[in-house]
Amino acid sequence: MTTQEVRLCGLLLQEHFGNVVEKVGTHLIRSGVLTLRALAHETKLPLDLVKKSLCVLVQHGMCTFGAGRRGPAGPVEYRINCEHVFHMLRYPRYIYTAKSLYGDTGELIVEEILQRGHMTMSSTVKTVADRLTHNMPEGQSMDYSEVVSVFSQLVETHFLQRCPPLASAGSSSSGAVDTPLPVATQPTEPESHPDCYKLPYINLTGQGKRRRSSEDGEADQCAAKKARTDNSECGDDDGIYWQVNFQRFHLHFRDQAIISAVSCKLDQSSSEIVRTMLRMSEGTTPAHAAFTQALSANEIFRALLSRSPDARPILDQYLSLLVDDPMEFVGKTGDSGGGMYVVNLHRALANLARATLESVVQERFGSRSARIFRLLLRKRHLEQKQVEDFAMIPAKEAKDMLYKLLSENLVQLQEIPKTPDYAPSRTFYLYTVNQLPTARLLLQHCYKTVGNLIERRLYETKENKRLLEKSQRIEAILASLQATGAEAAQLTEVEEMITVPERQQLESLRHHINKLDSSENQVDETIFLLKSYINSTQASR
């Protein structure tokens, strides 16, 4: 783990789970694997706090445990899964995707499961139905069956999956003290479980309960507490936990990126064709495949939503256009069935990553530096003189720009000696750009950026803490006054407790925080793209 990654993990853990979990988590990341006692000793925290933090991390799937180096008889060792911690940055995107695909119900299901790590189906359905009922007008309530149907849709399209069982799960019912734990080398993949996407047969009938207003107060609080403690008792599907399948969401994001790239580069109709092709091969293409399954033009034509009988030749023209495009999104692999076409996934990811790198250079160093960068990407190795000639930039400026890019490590120098003694006068110095290392470098920059954004937001919040607390108090007072039906004069009097310059300060603070949050979301999109590209190169090796 690099420094920036560890720092970002720490900030994310602190934001969601507090300082204690952050301390435990960062120490565990830095040390690799540790036992409970060692962790407690090294972090100098009380043992119970460390236990609680580990429970939280295991619940959310960020920490895995297993038998350690001393085998099953020795103490359990824990390690942190950093990728999982980075996913916390992307939670809003997952929830928004679920909303766009499955509506408000889907959004709430995914949000609940994300916030709690993993949940049983019955508890999810009950909580979501209650939340939906709360937002509906009086007298209406959400039926459990609707929530169950959306849940099953999410499972069918693989957005939710069962948590993988532990090897000791079978023997835990017998209560044996020394149950053997799985070795901590490789966590069991959820997909290796045959029932990964099987819904449990439970009978869930009922409707969401509306939480009454505070007049019913205590009785309802007792009922709510009882409901919460009863949750673990009354479900028929105890032990079957569901978690969000991040990989499926990532495939969906990747498809979206490819479709939007095609629509930007070509036009709307070609993006529709690519969208159809990707949708048809959703189930059949494995996760790390370099290209989708081959689809014939006839099948694509049948699957296109808006088709008329005379649109067939137009489809053929579009397909040939897509194949001839230098971006190579679509490739032709055969001629049967009117032509067999595939979407080149890895190549598309590489092109998207390349476009990202080029745009970064352009925005940071200017369009002429970007021209040099693109030139080097295309032509691989060039001498300085050749760079000047091909880029059509005067010598002095070209030299300046090249050295600037070299100092930022975006361009590398390759020495090719003519003589074995590497004499400088008799050596070729060639400039080159390697896409993969440059992408990794940019990814680290992105992690550092997000870390900086989070720290700046925390700083801004801390600076204006007094003002924020005052405004929260006044809002609480206003809310309570309105609930008890106060007059308008009293309300304005309370509102005036915040002076005008304070209001302006609050306004600008909110604006800054919104900007910082928005930037985090946007940088996360770049992180996703670069990470997918890097993973695709590793998978193909």
Binding site: R93, Y96, E111, G217, G239, K399, S519
Partner: protein, 217 residues
């Protein structure tokens, strides 16, 4: 290699022609300090994306951040005592207890060594305290009685009967109220004040105003 050195003449170790600057040109100044923390940017950054999707995700992000602070997964460390230990600290029960966990995970999915007992509800926790107090009081009074045995026999018998009656009453009360919600704040630790009297104002405004146990009438 040894030749062509030249004494006192400035010679570069690399071939100047390939690098395209003549001997007369001044080299850029070498850096004496690390680069500044916020270097001046040549080009302004591109503005952020806008739109409905972006706004919705921003709102989601802020909501998630706020709600995650209220979940039981957010573990707060104990407040370190900054200054003098105050009497009200005894009655502050905002201190998180370390040896219990506020949510009930599935212990079969976790290693056994992480098992902590789940936080019990207040009723079962406060009961043992009550059963002990009459015993303690009874014991003290028995000692006093034995000291005064010689002088006041009849009164001792009277007081014993009274204590028995009190004990019976308390036992009956306990049996009658196993499930009743009593205001334990007023019975805890023999104080005349309710718990919120000891509030030092840190939580003012943060709690909802439903809890009407305010010391101020």
């Amino acid at each position: 290699m040894a030749g062509n050195r030249g004494r006192g003449r400035s010679q570069f170790t690399f071939n100047v022609d390939t690098l395209r600057f003549g001997r007369g040109d001044s080299l850029p100044t070498s850096a004496h300090t690390p680069s500044p923390l916020f270097p001046p940017m040549q080009f302004r950054p591109v503005p952020l994306h806008t739109g409905e999707e972006v706004d919705y995700m921003l709102a989601l992000k802020q909501e998630l951040r706020a709600s995650s602070k209220n979940l039981p997964f957010h573990i707060k460390a104990a407040r370190t005592k900054t200054d003098v230990a105050r009497y009200s600290d005894k009655y502050q029960n905002g201190e998180p207890k370390y040896n219990c966990i506020e949510w009930s995970p599935d212990w079969s999915r976790m290693p056994k060594e992480l098992c902590i007992k789940v936080q019990k509800t207040r009723k079962t926790g406060a009961k043992p305290q009550l059963t002990q107090k009459p015993k303690v009081a009874a014991r003290k009074e028995e000692v006093l009685q034995k000291l005064e045995t010689l002088e006041k026999r009849e009164q001792e018998q009277h007081s014993e009967e009274e204590e028995d009656e009190e004990k019976k009453k308390q036992n009956e009360e306990e049996e009658e109220e196993p499930d009743e919600d009593y205001d334990e704040e007023e019975l805890e630790d023999e104080t005349d004040y309710i718990i919120s009297y000891f509030d030092n104002g840190e939580d003012f405004g943060a709690d909802s105003d439903d809890n009407m146990d305010e010391a101020v009438c």
